[in-house]
Amino acid sequence: MIELTSVKDDRSHALNVGVELYRALLDAAPDALLVVDTKGSIRVANRQAETLFGYRLDELVGLSVDVLVPDAVRDVSLPKNRPMGAGVTLRGKNRDGSTFPVDISLSSIEMKEGLLVSVAVRDITERVALENTLAELHTDLERRVERRTSELVTVNRELENFAYAVSHDLRAPLRAVEGFTREILREAESELRPSVLADFRRVQAAAKRMGELIDDMLSLSRLTRQELRVQRVDVTGLVDEVVRDLRNLEPDRAVDVNVENEVYAYGDPHLLRVAFVNLLSNAWKFTRNVPLPQIDVRAEQVNGETAYAVRDNGAGFDMRHVDKLFNPFQRLHPTHDFEGNGIGLATVHRVVQRHGGRAWAESVLGQGATFRFTLGTDKNSVIREGATR
């Protein structure tokens, strides 16, 4: 008897412990939990459900689940286990009539008395707000990019117009300066003192040079405006052609040119030609006073990138001025030593920049110089083309 009682006591104790644990688990759940029967009547609810929907526990139990759903979306069939509302925001309704976005997951529970559905409801107000903020930021960003782009387009157009105006408006007065001094000389050359004649020649030379500068400026700006068309370019062949042209221009010069075979690049063929014409003309020019002029063109690997190198054994330059080398109209040699407008390397720089690469140089004064550039367009890479970068 004693034993029986004790067993019975133990059982009821265990049952009590079970109920307590079940209640505790239910209330410890992060979501509002409801258990609904097939008629839609709420059988079980937890503390979070109480808080979320604004009904007391004892009010919730026995209440139709419909009360917790806004009228607009009251269409709750009872599906099998699955998260609901992918893509659609579901809403719950508080006792005070306010609604809020929710995630709902359903799972069916088979009981002896029939089918029950467990409903987990999570308030996602904050998440939705965050998503909205994110979407707004995104739209805002897009709008800003759009505005910047249109600003850039405008600036580019202005630049284009400027180049155009420079081309036309500056050249016209220059023609007058050059033309009429020439006419004065024609009329009065024999009557003018030598010093006056010399001054007129200076005026003419200056006008001519200014004309060249304007043209250089224009071609530099044209480089920037031109569309970039990237394809595989036979660098070896291109360099050979450029060297042939240089030899034709100065057939008396014997320059030993070595070009590595089978060098290819991914770039705009026209722009690459412009870059090599400038680099090779420089090398050609600055080896003029060397007994055995040599020019060397090859591809090298620099930090995993292909660099194209043009090396000469010419005059070189003082490395202290290397940072100015690629600036437009910057010259490191006096014009009477080596002619030029200081536009060549600026042009190279512009070409390289447009491809997304970089250009640099090293030299020992009197022993030659090496110019290298990368294109940032190694095989298979995609060209990122900004609006006239």
Binding site: H168, R171, R175, A176, G179
Partner: protein, 148 residues
């Protein structure tokens, strides 16, 4: 038949240089100068200040600047080409501009040549000499008799 040259040029210096360049090349043809686009069209269509002029007396060549007051050179070109009385007139664009756009549009609208004025006068004289030789001596133009 007098072979006239219509010079459409708004810059007085350029006008003078062009006239002198013609002179240097012993081109003695009559040079009519129009100083803006409207003036050029008035000459061609015998209108405005040129009313009463014989429309059929078309110039042997028009030297046309592009940047002109009132009506710009490209429009002048277009309107001369659009009229059957004047559409066959040889037109040489003579300008400072080497903008690809101007070249493309110029030829697109039916210019016969496009010449950029060089800064150096000697070169300009040479260019004008070649133009004169070609358009006034070598080139043949159809007779537009009977076209009203």
């Amino acid at each position: 038949v007098t072979k006239t040259i219509l010079l459409v040029e708004d810059n007085a210096d350029d006008e003078e240089l062009t006239v002198r360049a013609l002179d240097r090349n012993h081109i003695a043809n009559k040079v009519i100068v129009a100083r803006d686009g409207q003036d050029a069209l008035d000459y061609m269509f015998a209108d405005g200040a040129w009313a009463g002029r014989d429309v059929e007396d078309i110039p042997s060549v028009i030297l046309l600047d592009l940047h002109l007051p009132k009506i710009d050179g490209l429009e002048v070109l277009q309107r001369i080409r659009a009229d059957k009385r004047t559409c066959l007139t040889p037109i040489v664009i003579l300008t400072s501009s080497m903008e690809q756009q101007d070249l493309i549009q110029g030829y697109g609208l039916g210019a016969n040549s496009y010449v950029r004025k060089p800064v150096e006068f000697d070169q300009f004289v040479k260019a004008v000499g070649q133009l004169g030789l070609y358009w006034l001596v070598i080139n043949e133009v159809p007779k537009l008799v009977g076209v009203a």
